[in-house]
């Protein structure tokens, strides 16, 4: 608190030249607010006015749930019966209570209730979680103006438009507010918009001058005002409105608006008036509905269900027509059926009626073609798969204690088919922490530590070279130039990482300049100047940490904080800022002027007077900007510095160039007069004038050096991106950050590299929308043309686009072209995008390419895209839970994404695909035998199997093996998955669930059904099947046939699996044993229960050798084609996992490690991004160089000491 008050005395706005003067420029007059879209009127401090129409707006209560208490049942049921299969089963269940049903009613209703109940319970649980979250938010408390200048607390949900609220430090704003005043005299406040755009740097908001006096509770006693403004809309960066106060009208713009869900920082308190509440607020307007997501496989399954439905319908129709024909023409002759005494159902005189009623019976009888248990099994399997994901110790983050979490289990297999990853930057790829890493002073590079990118690249290169070494030593020691490559590139040794400095924001290491040693360097004076610029040229405020006695710094950008920390470590500690001075250690620098950083200027300058009275112009800025402004004799170090800057840029570091100049007193005062004059001008030209005058000062500078700051990547990010790229995934970065930052991170993550052609699509400043759009289109056409004309095989393109341009590019008529361009580029980086745009881009990719997208992010600003993407992944890291709440999967760190996709995704995809295929196979094989029998039973609807066999078929006898397939199957082990990321492509290419595969399995089912039925009936139809002379009755034949089915199907699944543990063995062979056991027990029961199956195994079948012989014959005959097919495929068209299985089986990987590592390094998709690609590019470049130099030296033995 005290700190706040001390600082409150500062009028920070006086420091600024550009940012804070801007409101005055708009004071020329209020916006003309008329017409539709600008109807909102807010009566400040008069919430009572908003109690009734027409000023009654939505309350501040928010709800993000899908259902409420009353709508849950109808809505959730509607969702459930949206599935065709469920609808069919519902109809079947209804019919099953009528006498038309060939089965008992319970056997139809129970599974349906189970399936629907399970899914609905899951929905309810998820919605309940959301509801609890809402309650928490809605019941947060905020101080509001009650009456007579008294403030009191009330919960967020009760807040009304027009309320005056007081928000204190580190609190969230409860609604969109108009800032009236703050604890600072000049009415500014700092806001953290993490939840809106993911940025953690603070933004300055500034109240109108007229409301500044309203800075204490009592002053609101008689405060009234009227705001006329735009209607609720989702645009975060715009606001248009007028404020009527004291009979004057003032214009409002976004800098007075405090948005809901952003946080007040570094400011003791602010007063504000509620403008937009609840769902009207900008952040809620940005919220997208959470859609119910379904995986690709599941959607395709629907089509298969349609196919099966058609099949069902066809055979039912055939059945019923057959029945009608038989009934009409044949049945009158079948005296033993007493055709003259029948009910309607069998009446030969009404064949049409019998046909129609029979259709219903047939639809139910053949219902086994549509596997209801498939849905149950899939639900069970997915829950178990999700448990595996949750339990995976290798995705457990020890630091935060967060495991990976599959929040919705119905997308597991989708993880194996991802094509494009859309990633947030801050908090996802980076830690949002800047580390001062290197610098170049007076043409000398300092700083020995290497960025993570360099380390990762060096490791990759080392392993590649090792590989080449080995190859060379075997390939009769061919000539190679690896020695030189090594010298040029691998310059860092890894153990440096061990004693890395623990200071946050500072990873610099170089004994030449540390601990005062810089004094001994040749250019000590320049070095001192360098450090001074770091310590003086900024807008930060120091804060004394009382425990440690050292200073920490609060700044608008994290870079500045890193500079200050660095300066402190070098002995230039910035310790105090007053209105007019900056104190570095004991030295005082009088601050004369500050020309601060704006995104347009890309530089910042301070003019100070040091203790000797010398006036210094200190400037830092983007290198290109600074280099343009150097004087002739200031370019001494330009060449070296440029080289260093390129290196830093390549290493993924953020760079700034530093420069200075000395100024004579008279020179300064002349300039300052002009400057002050311009500052006080009123009129539209003022900004331009100020800029011109600033430009005059920032000229003829002398270059000092450059800094390199590492935007600290999260652990393992470059490696992970590299692996994902090798797995063939495309990665797009969508960030709310500035273009420069985004590009830097692009380099850091190896999404960009030197030599990649960057296509920047930017917007030209023009008022006419059409012109801008036209121009953007032209840029895109040119870029596409350029890509098309590119001949170089290794050329890679990167697309960089910012939010404003994106707004045009996402318009309906342009977006297709934009997408085409983006897809051709190896990496795509979108900067300054709003949450809504993130969602729109995601939708564009999802719908435009038709491939699976995965969005990953950590903040509330990513919620939109997380919900929009096919799969949303939330980082359950430090900030907030909104992303996690909206996500389908949550992981603690970005690097776990690799394992989540490459291991779990791959497995789950194959498991579910095989499982679904097998399910269809099994139900076709079984269901069709029923149909064939119909043809032999006059299409009468008689089933050859006992009701109990049919009931148990899906429930007990074939369910567990298929579940074990879905849960435990793995084609290759997790290590192999990670070592051979290319294997992942089997998923996106959909090798295991294409129509070829599905129809193959269905064909196999058809074949099996034919074999099972016809072999059995030929063997059993007339002859005695026992030595005692008895012939087979219907139950005996049915039971034999069913035995064959159980054997054939279970053997089939055993052939399908490639990974066996005792569980699979238990389930498969156990299922067969269970069948015999069931038959035995069922036969033992009293004949009133078992009916025709009484004693059937013990008395009739088991003693007959032909029963066993038939089982063996049919089982083998059923599986023979599949066996031949997979043998053929394995032998002559093996898939990757087959080969790897063989390599593993013969332990070749252990015996021939060279081959193993070589294959590992080759097992990647052709990729343009990731550091492997970067290393490749580098190697190519070096090789190119070396080829030019004729290889002369004899190669040394491939020795490498490290």
């Amino acid at each position: 608190m005290t700190r706040g008050r001390i600082r409150a005395r500062l009028r920070l706005s006086h420091l600024y030249t550009f940012a804070c003067t801007r409101p005055e420029a708009t004071e020329e007059g209020p916006h003309s607010i008329e017409g539709p879209g600008y109807s909102r009127i807010v009566h400040c401090n008069q919430p009572l006015m908003h109690k009734k129409k027409p000023f009654k707006y939505r309350s501040n209560y928010i709800s993000t749930t899908k259902y409420n208490f009353f709508t849950f049942l109808p809505k959730a049921l509607y969702e459930q019966f949206h599935r065709v299969a469920n609808l069919y089963f519902l109809a079947a269940a209804i019919v099953s209570v009528t006498p038309l049903s060939p089965f008992s009613a319970v056997s139809m209703i129970a599974p349906l209730v189970f399936v629907v109940g399970l899914s609905m319970a899951k929905e309810a649980l998820e919605d309940w979680r959301r509801f609890m979250q809402d309650i928490k938010v809605n019941s947060r408390k905020v101080k509001f103006h009650k009456e007579e200048g008294v403030f009191d607390y009330k919960s967020w949900k009760k807040l009304q438009v027009g309320d005056v609220v007081k928000v204190e430090k580190d609190q969230f704003f409860p609604a969109d507010l108009l800032l009236l005043s703050s604890s600072y005299e000049d009415g500014i406040c700092y806001v953290e918009t993490m939840n809106l755009d993911g940025e953690t740097n603070l933004k300055v908001k500034r109240a109108l001058e007229v409301t500044l006096p309203l800075d204490e509770d009592a002053s609101f006693k008689n405060f009234t005002g009227k705001i006329k403004c735009e209607d609720p809309n989702p645009s975060l960066y715009t606001f248009i409105g007028n404020f009527e106060y004291d009979h004057e009208i003032y214009a409002l713009d976004p800098s007075q608006i405090l948005l809901r869900d952003s946080k007040l920082r570094n400011t003791a308190f602010v007063y504000g008036v509620v403008i937009f509440t609840g769902h009207d607020s900008k952040v809620m307007q940005n919220a997208t509905k959470s859609p119910s997501k379904r995986s690709r496989i599941e959607r395709k399954m629907d089509y298969i269900i349609y196919v099966l439905f058609s099949l069902l319908l066809v055979i039912s129709l055939v059945s019923s027509i057959g029945f009608a024909v038989k009934t009409k023409f044949d049945m009158p002759d079948w005296w033993y059926l007493q055709p003259q005494n029948t009910d309607d159902y069998y009446d030969p005189r009404k064949p049409v009626l019998s046909g129609v009623t029979h259709l219903i019976t047939a639809l139910m009888l053949y219902g086994y073609l549509i596997p209801i248990s498939l849905y149950v099994s899939i639900e069970v399997v997915k829950v178990l798969q999700a448990t595996f994901i949750n339990q995976d110790i290798q995705m457990y983050d020890e630091e935060t204690g967060n495991p990976a979490q599959a929040r919705t289990s119905n997308l597991n297999e989708e993880l194996g088919q991802v094509d494009t990853i859309l990633s947030d930057k801050t908090g996802t790829l980076t830690c949002n922490q800047m580390d001062f890493l290197k610098c170049s002073i007076a043409g000398t590079a300092y700083g020995m530590s290497s960025s993570e990118v360099e380390l990762a690249a060096a490791q990759q290169m080392a392993s590649d070279l090792e590989d080449q070494d080995v190859e060379r030593s075997t390939d009769f020691r061919q000539k190679g130039k690896q020695q030189e490559i090594e010298l040029e590139t691998v310059v860092i040794s890894e153990d440096e990482m061990v004693h890395k400095s623990p200071i946050k924001g500072f990873s610099f290491e170089d004994s030449r300049v540390m601990e005062g040693n810089w004094l001994n360097e040749p250019n000590a004076d320049v070095i001192m100047l360098f450090f001074r610029i770091l310590a003086i040229c900024h807008t930060a405020v120091p804060e004394l940490n009382e425990e440690t006695g050292s200073y920490t710094y609060e700044s608008e950008s994290p870079d500045e904080a890193a500079f200050l920390v660095a300066a402190r470590e070098f002995g230039f500690e910035f310790c105090k800022r007053t209105q007019s001075s900056v104190f570095v250690r004991e030295r005082e620098f009088k601050l004369l002027n500050m020309l601060e950083f704006t995104s347009k200027r890309k530089r910042m300058t301070v003019i100070v007077r040091d203790e000797d009275g010398q006036i210094l112009v200190l400037c830092k800025g983007a290198d290109s900007i600074i280099f343009d402004r150097l004087s002739k004799n200031g370019r001494l170090y330009e060449e070296d510095t440029t080289r260093h800057l390129n290196e830093y840029g390549e290493a993924g570091l953020r760079t700034l160039a530093l420069a200075y100049k000395r100024l004579g007193e008279s020179e300064y005062s002349a300039w300052n007069n002009e400057f002050q004059e311009a500052k006080t001008t009123i009129g539209p030209d003022r900004d331009l004038m100020l800029e011109n005058i600033a430009e005059m000062m920032e000229r003829d500078l002398i270059l000092v050096g450059a800094t390199a700051v590492e935007d600290k990547l999260q652990k393992g990010v470059p490696q992970c991106i590299d692996k994902l790229a090798q797995a063939g995934l495309k990665i797009w970065v969508l960030t709310g950050d500035k273009v420069e930052t985004a590009i830097n991170i692009g380099y850091a993550c190896s999404l960009l590299r030197q030599g990649m052609k960057q296509i920047c699509i930017t917007e030209i400043s023009s008022d006419a929308k059409e012109v801008v759009k036209e121009n953007i289109l032209l840029q895109m056409t040119n870029a596409s043309q350029m890509i098309k004309l590119e001949r170089e095989p290794h050329a890679a393109f990167a697309l960089i686009i910012d939010g404003k341009t994106l707004a045009y590019a996402l318009e309906d008529d342009v977006k297709q072209q934009f997408l085409v361009l983006a897809v051709q580029c190896a990496s795509v980086i979108c900067c300054r995008v709003s949450p809504k745009q993130k969602a729109l881009v995601t939708r564009l990719v999802k719908e435009g390419t038709g491939k699976t997208t995965l969005a990953i992010g950590d903040g509330a600003n990513d919620v939109g895209m997380i919900k929009e993407a096919d799969i949303g992944v939330g980082i359950s890291g430090v900030e907030g839970m909104q992303a996690v709440m909206a996500s389908d999967f949550s992981i603690a760190q970005f690097r776990f994404l690799e394992r989540l996709l490459v291991v779990h995704g791959h497995w789950c995809y194959k498991r579910i695909a095989q499982m679904v295929c097998y399910f269809f196979y099994k139900n076709i094989a079984f269901g069709l035998t029923l149909f064939y029998f119909e043809a032999f039973a006059g299409f009468s609807g008689q089933s050859i199997y006992d009701d109990w066999y049919m009931l148990l078929f899906n429930v007990l006898l074939t369910s567990l093996p298929v579940i074990s397939l879905g849960v435990f199957e793995q084609d290759v082990s997790s290590e192999v998955c990670l070592q051979f990321p290319a294997v992942y492509q089997q998923g996106p290419k959909n090798l295991f669930f294409d129509w070829y595969k599905i129809l193959g399995w269905m064909g196999n089912g058809l074949y099996s059904s034919l074999i099972i039925f016809f072999l059995n009936i030929i063997i059993f139809y007339d002859q005695a099947f026992r030595e005692e002379g008895q012939t087979a009755s219907m139950p005996a034949l049915g039971t034999t046939m069913f035995t064959c089915i159980i054997w054939a199907l279970n053997c089939q699944i055993a052939f399908t699996m490639s990974h066996f543990t005792w569980i699979q063995h238990l389930f498969i062979w156990g299922s067969i044993a269970t069948w015999y056991l069931f038959l035995f027990v069922y036969g033992r029961l009293s004949p009133s229960i078992s009916g025709n199956a009484y004693q059937i195994l013990v008395e009739a079948l088991a003693p007959a050798p032909i029963y066993w012989l038939a089982t063996l014959l049919v089982t083998i005959a059923c599986n023979l084609p599949y066996l031949a097919h997979i043998s053929y495929q394995r032998c002559f068209h093996p898939l990757d996992h087959h080969i790897i299985q063989e390599i593993k089986y013969y332990k070749k990987d252990v015996e021939d490690q060279r081959m193993w590592t070589r294959e590992r390094s080759r097992a990647r998709e052709r990729t343009m991004i990731g550091f492997s690609a970067r290393v490749d590019a580098k190697i190519r470049q070096l090789k190119g160089k070396l080829q030019r130099k004729q290889p002369s030296s004899e190669i040394h033995s491939p020795a490498r000491s490290s």
């Binding site: 059926l337 005695a1024 032998c1131 060279r1154």
Partner: protein
């Protein structure tokens, strides 16, 4: 460096040895599986076939010839006229020695015992115990008469087969044993020993055979056999056993009471005499199927061997990995 070299050489050595060993091992699982199946199946097929060959079977179709020539245009009239004598004499020649027991079957054709209406039209409860006499709800229209429930009710019992056969060799009657033609479980558990036929075949429509109402159902083995409904429209049912050897070339005279109506739906009726072996009756198909499947497996094994000789692929050869095959593979 040293270690590097060492691993290199050993790796190379390992590579070559594994190559040679893989040649030996290659295809083994596939080829051996097919071979083993073939080796097991063909003998099994031969054994079954020989068992089937040992079975001697006489099949005689009599539905056509047992109709007097003056009725041959209207067989239905013949069969439906109770006043006409239905007996008919057939002579069968024994082709080979038929060892006792010789089983007698009747075979019906185009007869839908598996029709849903037919299958359901019975009451197992009623057959089992007297107390459930009245549970005839599924038996309609053969459920009850004015005198009370029909026992046994339903179409199945009502349509009981009623042709009879009397065998003689050289005018010497051969004993036909009609005991133990039904399953033991039927006799002991499913057909009650205190349940007697009641009101059976007393309605307006007479279906098939009549039952002796003084004999309990548990002794009516013909009924039990009949009520085990057949799975297919062509079926055989056990009629009885001849417990004496029939010599080759013996002429057997059969006097058939041709009562059962198959003429209305033009079904055939056959009389079958057959011995059995361990696989039951004559069943060449099983043996042939075994031989075919076994042969197919051997054929596949040979194919795979040939394919392997023509186009060998060492197991675990990394050059077959997709990234090594596709031309678009990673340049390196």
């Amino acid at each position: 460096m040293d270690t590097n070299g060492a691993t290199t050489s050993s790796a190379a050595g390992g590579g070559s040895t594994s190559k040679s060993s893989s040649k030996k091992h290659s295809r083994k699982p596939v080829i051996s599986t097919f071979t083993i199946i073939g080796i097991i199946f063909i003998p099994l097929g031969l054994v079954s076939l020989s068992a089937s060959e040992k079975v001697v079977e006489i099949v005689d179709r009599y539905d056509e010839s047992c109709v007097p020539s003056d009725y041959s245009n209207d067989k239905l009239k013949f069969i439906q006229n109770p006043s006409i004598n239905k007996s008919c004499v057939r002579t069968l020649t024994v082709p080979k020695l038929m060892k006792s027991p010789v089983f007698i079957y009747y075979q019906l054709d185009n007869y839908y015992q598996n029709h849903r209406r037919y299958v359901k039209s019975r009451s197992d409860k009623q057959l089992r115990s007297v107390s459930d006499e009245k549970s005839t709800k599924d038996c309609s229209p053969e459920d009850k008469t004015v005198d009370g429930p029909i026992v046994p009710c339903g179409l199945v019992a009502w349509s009981l087969f009623n042709d009879t056969y009397v065998f003689s060799v050289n005018s010497k009657t051969i004993e036909v044993n009609k005991h133990d033609i039904a399953w033991k479980s039927d006799k002991e558990h499913k057909f009650g020993s205190n349940v007697y036929p009641k009101n059976f075949q007393s309605g307006g429509l007479i279906g098939g055979a009549k039952l002796n109402s003084s004999v309990p159902l548990s002794k009516q083995e013909d009924l039990m056999v009949w009520m085990r409904t057949a799975a297919l429209p062509t079926f055989r049912k056990l009629y009885g056993k001849i417990e004496q050897d029939l010599q080759a070339n013996e002429k057997i005279q059969v006097v058939i009471q041709n009562n059962y109506n198959t003429y209305s739906f033009s079904g055939k009726k056959k009389l079958v005499l057959s011995t059995t072996s361990w696989i039951g009756g004559k069943n060449d198909f099983l043996g042939i199927a075994y031989i075919i499947v076994g042969g197919l497996c051997l054929f596949l094994a040979v194919c795979f061997i040939l394919l392997y000789v023509i186009k060998p692929r060492p197991l675990g050869d990394p050059s077959y990995l997709s990234w090594n095959r596709s031309p678009a593979g990673h340049p390196n």
